[in-house]
Amino acid sequence: MGADSAMSQIFPKSANATARMSLAGVLTLVLFLGWVVFTLMRSSWATKQNEFVEQPIQFSHAHHVGGIGLDCRYCHTSVEKSSFAGIPPTKTCMNCHSQLWTNAQILEPVRASFRNDQPLNWTRVNDLPDFVYFNHQIHVKQGVGCATCHGPVDKMPLMYQAKPLLMEWCLDCHRAPEKYLRPRSEVFNMAYVAPDNQLELGTQLKAEYKIADPKHMTSCSVCHR
């Protein structure tokens, strides 16, 4: 065993610093990745929040709701009677557009649809996973304003998803509805602004509308079947 043969110093002085740096580096990297995942889950990339969606017709809610002042229910007829708010049949569009803008190019798809009895294919904007059973009827009834979930639709030239629609977002309200409730009369009012005493009002409405306590509202089967 020739020990002399081997030089026993195999690393330069700098190696010590490098070693410790790399150790620290690994730790920070792990933490960083964790942070990345955490934010990515909630990012608008994952939730599609605030994304404009390509539609067969560039229908402007801003114009129809904000401008003309149509009520939500003129088109979304079943919002008070059904889980599904309802997408207007072409007929509804033609009610007006058989007189107005009858040869506007942008409306051609609508007329075509009406002529050929071919439905329009809209792209869903506020899209919940298929295992979530959201019901418009009850939310509208219990004083949850359209704008609370759909945002300032009257100011949206093109429709986009205003809220993340993540489960934590739903639960935020299901755990403490008083934070968002408004009088039934104001549900369809786009201009409504929450009063300063929202919590007070909300608590009072909650009692008045007999809204169940969080124990019920956070039961799984309320939304998942």
Binding site: A6, Q9, N16, A19, R20
Partner: protein, 182 residues
């Protein structure tokens, strides 16, 4: 001899011994002689060697205990917060705070953190990782991990003097005494 062309700064003097017994004896002698900045090297643990060099330390157990307590509190805290505060749910009619069921995970986290802190603390105290160290500059030191025993007196020891210390070491049945460069 492995001196570079220019003479670099000296780390200390290293004496080589043949057996644990001789090393241990030498260590006692060195301590008696009043040297403080010293160290001994052996391929396996030799009981009483560190003490012979006048070394004592009791941090490790305390750190481990601390780690354990953190693990316990952290683990049980997590369970309590998630099951009772964050999202309480009626699971099979069991209470929200089902402390009986919460014991096993808390127990495991306790051990986990204790063990990790023990390992971390060991590295920290030994200053690992430390791939470079002056003593490696001595070629024969490569045998310190197989069958040779070494003793070093560092140059910045107050009592250190090249010749005096060298002769002193040679007096301790050292097989050989060499100088160690930084």
């Amino acid at each position: 001899m492995s001196h570079g062309p220019e003479t670099p700064e000296r780390y200390g003097l290293m004496a080589e011994f043949e057996s644990p017994q001789t090393l241990l004896a030498a260590a006692h002698a060195v301590a008696r002689a009043g040297y403080t900045k010293t160290d001994a090297f052996s391929p396996m643990p030799i009981h009483g060697l560190a003490e012979a060099l006048g070394f004592e330390e009791h941090i490790l157990p305390k750190v481990v205990l601390g780690g354990g307590i953190m693990g316990l509190i952290g683990g049980y805290g997590l369970e309590y917060w998630t099951q009772v505060i964050a999202f309480p749910q009626n699971i099979g009619g069991r209470p929200y705070h089902a402390w009986v069921a919460f014991i096993p995970p808390a127990y495991e986290t306790t051990i986990l953190l204790a063990a990790l802190s023990c390992f971390g603390c060991l590295l920290f105290l030994c200053g690992f990782p430390r791939p470079y160290h002056p003593v490696f500059n001595v070629p024969r030191f490569s045998m310190a991990t197989s069958d040779r025993f070494f003793l070093v007196i560092e140059a910045d020891d107050p009592k250190f003097s090249l010749d005096g210390t060298k002769t002193f070491l040679q007096g301790l049945t050292a097989m050989e005494v060499v100088s160690v460069d930084e």
